[in-house]
Symmetry: D2
Subunit: 315 residues, 4 copies
């Protein structure tokens, strides 16, 4: 039996057909839309395309950036697609495909976390937390080998754990949310501050962004890091420090055995993970006298979301 999985973003939609072992057999990518009805139709169209080749598609799994209530059939709200508010996504798509198979909706961080758990760095763990450092900070929680959704489908929103009272203003309206200190956005802000403080050391970074600090993207900072740039090192070190603090805080509640760190920035390796591990220990209660979680980079990469969506749809 096969599953069609779709990762629906604001600008593009990735699709894949996976077999029972969560192996990806075919993969497409098409442009997305801001119009929910359009998205419904794109999904249906991709289903028909997949069904032509794979006769036995048993379910469609949809990974969406948004809040998914427990029934896993609708979207309560989505930060990037305004009209996805209390939207009956499963009903609509099932109608378009004539009820050919069930359509299961799941939050994208949850899909990625589950993907890492079943086929990535999380295998063999019992209680695992995924943290994805992207534009923001996504989180997913596995407890006793199952995805944990909470009582209202909102568990694992670790990016919006308050870390600093009266701290940096978050897009969500709160202050001091974790994702203001651990994200690509935060990396840029920490590095820009470093440039302002130590302009004499900013030569390479300024060159890479053509003298315009607003163009100082995470990619360029990573590029500078590769060349041994001190300020780039500072920037990654700061988000690493906060990542360590956030894991220490999460451990006080969940005491997991594994943290899997995903997102593009994790490619820089130790420049991020060393300060993360050091500060995890530093800010952990009784850190010298307890079992410590392992902290490892994600492995399933960009496919994690598709794998997770497929596997969750099957259950």
């Amino acid at each position: 039996m096969h599953v069609l999985a779709l990762d629906i973003g604001g600008t593009k939609i990735a699709a894949a057909v996976l077999d029972d072992d969560n192996v990806i057999l075919r993969k497409w990518r098409v442009p997305s839309s801001q119009d929910p009805a359009d998205i419904d139709r794109i999904i249906a169209r991709m289903y028909r395309r997949a069904a032509e080749e794979f006769a036995d598609i048993e379910a469609i799994g949809l990974s969406v950036c948004g809040n998914v209530p427990l029934g896993r059939r609708s979207i309560e709200f989505a930060p990037n697609i305004a009209a996805w508010t209390n939207y009956p996504l499963s009903d609509n798509v099932e109608a378009l495909i004539g009820g050919a198979c069930p359509v299961v909706v799941e939050n994208d961080a949850n899909c990625a976390g589950w993907g890492e758990y079943v086929k990535g760095a999380g295998r063999g763990s019992r209680n695992m937390v995924l943290l994805t450092v992207g534009t923001g900070l996504g989180g997913a929680i596995i407890i006793n080998g199952e995805l944990y959704r909470g009582s209202f489908g909102m568990a694992g929103e670790i990016g919006h754990t308050p870390m600093v009272p009266d701290g940096d203003t978050c897009g969500c309206g709160l202050r001091g949310c974790t994702e203001r200190y651990i994200s690509g956005n935060a990396l840029e802000r920490f590095t820009r501050s470093a440039v302002r403080r130590w302009p004499d050391k900013s030569g390479l970074l300024m060159e890479l962004c053509d003298g315009d600090l607003t163009k100082l993207t995470g990619e360029r900072i990573a590029q500078a890091l590769e060349q041994g740039d001190e300020l780039a090192h500072y920037g990654f070190g700061k988000i690493g420090e906060w990542l360590g603090r956030a894991m220490a805080a999460t451990t006080a509640v969940l005491d997991p055995d594994l943290y899997v760190i995903g997102g593009g920035v994790v490619a820089v390796g130790d420049a991020l993970l060393e300060p993360a591990r050091y500060n995890y220990r530093r800010f952990l209660e009784a850190g010298a006298y307890r079992g410590l979680a392992r902290i490892v980079p994600a492995e399933a990469g960009q496919d994690a979301g598709l794998i997770g969506a497929a596997d969750l749809a099957r259950r």
Copy 2:
């Protein structure tokens, strides 16, 4: 069948025999000891006393203030009984009673949380968090109707979640731990600050502590509150505010449907719970658009620990 439950503190030990419905049939209290071997013998003696009356004691459940590894048979360390370090409590007691029945050790906050869940304010909840405001702040987590211990037995240490970077120094060596802002100790500190700031309003509090601020205990502040004292109201309001913040932070991770608030201070009711509920909402991401946890006072009271220890020992 019956279970013997013991709640072992630094100064006294409470014991009870409970039936299959977790009804307490008999209850004793004896002095405790700082000597672990003494404690072993006290437990054995109480078992024999209970066994005289109740022939069918199937298990002994021990509630202890300390870190209990997953096997539930030993104590890794205990803040109040120094010699309880890597101590094989179950082995020792089982030897003393000739292996008459199994001895199960559990952390006291976990026992209280489970007691509330099976026989108190937590009944019917799915994902519940207990917060006990005492000298410190204890926590216990119920997930999908089961006690959640984490991967190393340390889950639910919500009293040591870092709330304020560089905040108040905690006995654990960290700074800004939740329990520095939500505890009887914190209540006293907030209220003392209020007295220093507004001495003209401190008449009643100063009278209740005979003019000596070091004697300003939580009991006296609660007494002043009953008489409408403004500064007492401020003190309870502050720990209530932080309780709300801590629940908002915990919700970002766990998204439970219920918080049960235990400990002596909860007797003051709304002076604590109103600011707690207000600030829970205030510091919750998307608080206006999500399911909200109920926040209720504990019901099982001082028996919660005994009930929980008994029920957990039975499983």
Copy 3:
């Protein structure tokens, strides 16, 4: 004798001729420029226009938004006019007017502070601090009846005192600067957060900004406040609270007898000043046992800068 004073902003330049008693005899307003050479010429032109009517102009005083070194003749940098970097403003203007009179440059917050001191709410004070709540937070310090500039011309930058470690990111590259919590900008952010949290109470504010929160300006929040709006009250209350905290912090260093609060927001009166006074007391060391500074609104209004620039040029 007369003085010509100019207040040079990024979009407009205000000019005035004042007599020896700092009475404004004539006032103009002309568009500004981003080109420093243009600004030089505008100043010279205005001097000639003033000199036609007033024969005895003894000095020109320039109030500028920027860092002015101790000599009071140049601009080190200016946040709004990029080319004003190490710019010899006095030299240039004196050359254009043939050395007819001396040209004195001063920071705009300092001018406003001095204006309030000689002709506004600061009269009779000995040690005074002006705080101007505008887009950012400006500050000026009077010590023993004289403007205090510090050793490098940068004293009184109270808007960039760090208030919150790891706090809100400031345009200056630091985190937690006072002006991130006390400014028109901060008022908008606090109020927007309130709208997100309590959408059921946001009717009036949403109406005033046509349902678009990005249009929620300080003016509209002040308008809502007049109609008794609860969320507008919350917003002003929050910047008032932080204003109180900032004054307490400043008092620990300077122990002044007077704070004068300027800027448009002060027009709302007690909605701002009451929480400011309350929190000033609350966060002041030994607040119950020391002399307290008075906290009053500015009086000289928009003319304060011109009056201050004129009077300082005369000295």
Copy 4:
């Protein structure tokens, strides 16, 4: 002409006779008292002893740990001598010595600051701040070459500037005061935390305090530092970091040209001053584009208070 200066502590009183060049000609030390009348008599007795040898004593300068109102003749309150509340110290002593010469009272931090200014590391500075890192954190401010007392005699209380909202509880009743992060006390707390976190590196420190962390004094930490101990380095580094932050905050207000750092800890030199200088720059607005204050250790040492008291009494 000569001046008698006394430095009055809670346990001992140091006395000295100084000439017009502030050279110390004679120095004694006697036990102190908790009884203000006793202290009055001790001062009078020391005056008579000094007057026997030096005929022309023109004034007595008293350095006291307490709040001294502007008249410089009384003590409003003193943290270490409870009965020194609104105490007319000058009146009392002048009566006992028959009005032989004027008696001038001054705060001890102000005396030390002035001593450094006229005869220590502060010579030649224009605007200077003294920070004395002792049990707490003392401060004194020199502006335009004169001691600055503020409008109520409380200026320079930099130890009670709030640095961390909701931070560490201070003896003064506030939270997050600077002296909770920069003091001998803070050094001990930071180092103890390090020992708890990294017990494997704590060998030397544990040895120096006989395995009892409560005996981990600043002296012992300094001793460990000399032997290259990593955790001692961490401890001094942390108070150095906060010292840098505090100077950055003070600079935003005062923009001085010099910070003089006093107190026993400064003897360790760069282990303290390097992180202080680094973080001063790091947390300073526009730090790369402004005049920077020099940061130097105190020079006049324990005599600074006597020198300052004498010189201030002469004025």
